[in-house]
Symmetry: C2
Subunit: 476 residues, 2 copies
């Protein structure tokens, strides 16, 4: 049997793990600096908790787990009968499967907040770093299992939270050294447009369609809207708001020209019929507040843009929406997404809990950093073992256990060559392959004298040291 | 809808997470000190990778995931037809489900080693900290989702690896401050017994049965063995080896009396008919080597015992087996398990790769530490935010963003009260509930003067500081 892993999933070896931990450590440190507190939720949720939050397309991508009572039956006939019974007594496959793997961290977070509402201090700021699963078609930058790193605050509708999240993004991408563009839009603008064109219940359809403009082009968006029942007139007016100046996308200028940016937002309000719609105006006002108050450390490396075509596919967003892409290299998928949801906990029985959050996609951040060569050069060296004990037989090998114990007491990472062999060359070769900088050879003479031979593998130099001096030397 | 989570799964809030991270940080630090390197594998494996490795009872507990092509069909009739077709063309439910959630980290590790054999340096030492899933009946100390923290070395049959793992356990449980008993046995002893009583192919049946002696008693073990087809005579001789001295279990004395321990092992060889069996003798020799060379830091807190009834339920063990329990409090399940497997990679096409490893059960370690009150007293304080900015309106709140940015540049964790409110009392209350030690109040006067009021929440003292002094003060 030749082993394999499921499509769209990956193994991470030591070299990849060191780089992943480098990214995660920076993000986790910043989450804590910004006072988000850690939580974890189970990989499995009840299916009812997840469905209906991600749009129809999202629902299709939820991985479902077979009920134990069915998969515990080994007999084929019993299995078939149970399945048939389940199907007859139910509308769909729910009786066959009650649990599913989480699709994101936001919905489980909302469920967590409702279940633990009496033990939490609101507004509640949490971070969460866990894998999620999606039965998506695997391709570059799209995996079936990937990590999300989320920061959310719930129980406050103040826009200060958006500003705080933008500062968090700025600091994190700055420390990762990734040049990025943060695109911002507001779902209220989309809702206002939907209201203005007489389709107030179709905001999600519009969002899902225009979110794809980068992938399927303007014509594709138009076709999708027609399929969803929009008239030619509606589409024309919709385009007036979103795609102006001969079809090109309105981009605000970068922060370096704040006034221009705000002006283009105001023009959108004053120059069109949408300006009369209250929801639309509210969206524009919220955006203007953000652009007036954003502070970023380096506006060349962290650009901020208003993008009227930004929609995000998820059902639950109601206000600000965020998306981050890098503007260097060839990597096009977004590396962060987020937004404000005014009533995600309402479905679970706790209304009036506005929240806002962002989600770092560390698997894609990894891909970007690899392409742009942004990992520190010495990343593998700093993480490796400091010293290998080489030996000649069972007796000298056992002696190394004591020596290793003393080094480890002093926080010096070390290992004993794990096989009994007289071949020193093999042991030095192992140290070389693993980038271990020092080898200490322990023979019977060294055991008796208590003085050991320490070799610097890079320089080739060798010196004689007793245990105390060896420890002092390696501590430096 | 009242939300809930699947039985046997748990949410972890900030207070629990701080304690879990405390445990994980100690174990991870020691894994790295002992030169194990991190890897991660996907949550989902192909079902064929997992089945047949955990015994019949284990196989029943594997969570299976519905194939996408089936769960993507919403139509009931299509679903039923697909399922029927699948069943007819297959012996069992494999066509319905091809992927399953990992049951432990050892089998995925073996699969990883085989797939990556050309990129790894052997002997390969890895650690892995990830959740596993088992469709077990939930009860105290038994969850359907729990973390395993594994350290394994593969590609070496030297017993030095067992000694190194024992040193790792000693250091880790010592730093966690948990008094434990490490029980050791060797599967070769069980194999030798099976050979001696004329049932060489039934070693696993014996292991599975006697592993339950703590739960179902000697009579229960006897009944189970009878059901498995063992004769009265076979059971009598089996008991002669395992349960001697009138049915009591042979425990070696603790390490404080090494000689006694080794003597009782030798007595087992010389005094019985098993001594003639080569496999049995090899098992005894390996155990004796370990007991002769074990070094522990404090033999009162880390006791080591030979336990002839220790068997572990898993199919793949072939040599040393380990189990750790605490000997304080009322918590009886094991908190660590492990052992040597001589040919786990053989099934995947890479023979002759002996490995040995251990798995810390941090969920159970958590339960033990809670019961014995072993977490540091100040654990919640050290992890919380250092400072809260209180304010009065949108303008003073926005000003806090700049101040917070300066503090965070200096690695001071802080937050801005996330709502706009004139009520200072509410903001101080929030700080109290969250254990935040300092509150800095920012009104329009403070904004103008650049001098801020800093309150020590525990002592009630207040002082006036400019930003530079504020940062210097908090850095201490």
């Amino acid at each position: 049997m030749k082993p394999s892993i499921p499509r769209g999933t990956r193994d991470f070896g030591p070299a990849e793990m060191q780089k992943r931990q480098y990214i995660l450590n920076i993000i986790r440190k910043n989450f804590e600096l910004f006072a988000y507190q850690p939580i974890e939720t189970p990989a499995m949720e009840n299916i009812g908790t997840l469905t209906g939050k991600y749009g129809d397309e999202g629902d299709q991508l939820i991985f479902k787990i077979l009920n134990s009572r069915i998969h515990e039956s080994k007999n084929k006939d019993v299995l078939k009968k149970e399945f048939d019974l389940s199907l007859e007594s139910s509308r769909n496959s729910e009786e066959l499967t009650e649990k599913a793997l989480r699709y994101d961290l936001t919905v489980p977070f909302a469920r967590f907040v409702v279940m633990n509402q009496h033990n939490l201090t609101f507004p509640f700021k949490r971070y969460q770093i866990q894998p999620v699963w999606r039965a998506d078609r695997p391709q570059k930058g799209r995996y079936r299992e990937f990590y999300q790193c989320d920061a959310d605050v719930i129980g406050s509708n103040s826009l200060i939270n958006e500003l705080d999240l933008i500062a968090l993004m700025d600091k994190s991408f700055g420390e990762l050294n990734i040049p990025v563009v943060l695109k911002i839009n507001n779902r209220k603008i989309l809702a206002g447009i939907a209201e203005t064109i007489g389709a107030p219940d179709k905001m999600i359809d519009i969002a899902v369609a225009i979110d794809k403009v980068d992938k399927i082009g303007q014509q594709g968006v138009e076709n999708e809207l027609k399929e969803k029942g929009f008239t030619k007139d509606q589409i024309r007016v919709l385009y007036g708001a979103i795609l102006v100046h001969g079809g090109s996308v309105i981009y605000g200028d970068s922060l370096r020209d704040k006034n221009n940016n705000i002006n283009s937002l105001s023009a959108l309000v004053n120059g069109t019929e949408f300006g009369k719609n209250e929801t639309f105006r509210k969206g524009i006002d919220e955006l203007a507040y953000l652009f007036n108050n954003i502070e970023v450390s380096d506006s060349k490396k962290f650009r901020v843009q208003f993008d009227a075509t930004l929609a995000r596919g998820l059902n639950y967003y109601t206000g600000t929406i965020f998306e981050v892409k890098t503007n260097a290299g060839t990597f096009t998928p977004s590396i962060l997404g987020g937004g404000r949801y005014d009533d995600l906990t309402g479905i679970f029985g706790l209304p009036n809990m506005s929240g806002v959050g962002i989600s770092f996609g560390i698997d894609r951040i990894y891909d970007v950093m690899e392409e742009l060569n942004l990992f520190p050069e010495n990343i593998s060296k700093t993480a490796s073992t400091q010293l290998l004990f080489a030996h000649f037989d069972e007796v000298t090998q056992s002696h190394c256990i004591k020596l290793a114990g003393e080094l480890r007491k002093n926080n010096i990472s070390c290992e004993i060559y794990p096989d009994v062999t007289k071949k020193l060359g093999k042991q030095f070769d192992y140290a070389n392959k693993k980038n271990i900088p020092f080898v200490c050879t322990v023979g019977s003479n060294e055991m008796q004298s208590g003085v050991y031979a320490l070799k610097n593998m890079e320089k080739g130099e060798q010196q004689q040291l007793n245990l105390t001096d060896l420890i002092e030397f390696l501590k430096k």
